[in-house]
Symmetry: C2
Subunit: 223 residues, 2 copies
């Protein structure tokens, strides 16, 4: 129990981290305020003993709370928020809808992001000497590999609405919004995926998402 | 609606695929019988028009059912099974326990498997000329990167029991069991992670897991 916390929740994260962005959007959708702690990943700030005691994996985001162990893994935290916190639902109520929202979330969260995050790009440089151009080629390849079928799935399913699933934003939208921000680091344009681009634009009109965007965070540094 | 199906469920999968193995274990835990269809990934059997109509991403596993669209993404399918099918629960009932089981599942499902599956290793060979030794180095690096902290988390948390979470096997165990089988492809020994090794041995004593193991599947070929 951490009695020093000014808020119920303390978010350990990094402005540019895609998993952090998706969790910030979910917290905002739920209307949950939190204390923001930013970590510079490149400077090893998540490899300190203090941070590793919160998350032995040394990864952001971590959601610390007053009454209970720290929560790790952004998608597990979002599910936990939906199960325990008031506010708009982040997943639909029907099992088929929930399976669809989770499938879209995992397409991004398991098939794109893990291949393209900072430590993977660093490993490519270290093990294979991948320069910026090679890293961009790798990054773009994995975005395309999943966004191509995701576009088909979204465009061909009548359950797609203004957002990924109907007209209420939820977990899948948090993942999609964060991924598009990540894509911008390597200038991956969304024009090839019109449904994805349309949904991103609709999300970017909402304060909950806009306020979660990397450039608006306290630890943001200019690109 | 597919009236040609002899069983309620038809599993499109591949014996050696880790995501297929984890789903087979979950189906077995639930006591669900299913029709088994195996696909040779290296031969492009998941890139046919028929398969892409089931899953535009061209990935296994897909769970086809008589009444409803096909389900994709193994972890989304496991959650759906737990929400809709009778049998033992695959996630605990309390939100904190659910968050922990999901976090362990995602550590394996998002941080290890996506970096080490067949198409990623093929891409390393194609883009960087990675030979078998380099692929093994890459594979082992990502297993260690997550298994080291996972071992700490499992060994230090009193909620760990005979299995990942208490004494009842569930979703996290399905992921762990499948990952250890995957590790064997590159001779990654589990001795460095005694708690993980102990849990795998306990799982391997259960028919639900043993029957899901790659070598026992109809499409298995000798290593």
């Amino acid at each position: 129990m951490n009695t020093q916390m000014p808020e119920t929740f303390r978010l350990h994260n990094f402005f540019r981290s895609s998993t952090s962005t998706r969790l910030r959007a979910a917290l905002n959708l739920k209307g949950i305020s939190y204390e923001y702690l930013g970590y510079a990943l490149r400077k090893g700030e998540t490899r300190t003993p203090e941070f590793l005691s919160l998350n032995p994996a040394g990864l952001v985001p971590v959601l610390e709370r007053k009454d209970g162990p720290p929560l790790v893994q952004s998608l597990a935290i979002i599910e936990w928020l939906d199960e325990t916190q008031p506010g708009p639902a982040l997943l639909p109520r029907d099992p088929d809808g929930r399976a669809r929202v989770r499938a879209i979330s995992f397409m991004i969260g398991c098939e794109i992001h893990p291949l393209n995050n900072l430590r993977v790009l660093a490993r490519l440089a270290e093990q294979f000497g991948a320069d910026e151009a090679a890293q961009k080629e790798w990054f773009t390849h994995w975005v395309r590999t999943t966004f191509d079928p995701l576009e088909i799935m979204l465009a061909s399913d009548e359950r797609t609405g203004r957002f990924c699933h109907g007209d209420t934003p939820g977990m899948a939208d948090c993942c999609l919004y964060a991924q598009i921000w990540n894509n911008r680091r390597f200038d991956v344009d969304s024009a090839a995926w019109p449904t994805i681009a349309r949904i991103f634009a609709a999300l970017d009109d909402l304060a909950a998402f806009r306020d979660a965007a990397p450039p608006l965070q306290p630890d943001a540094v200019p690109a």
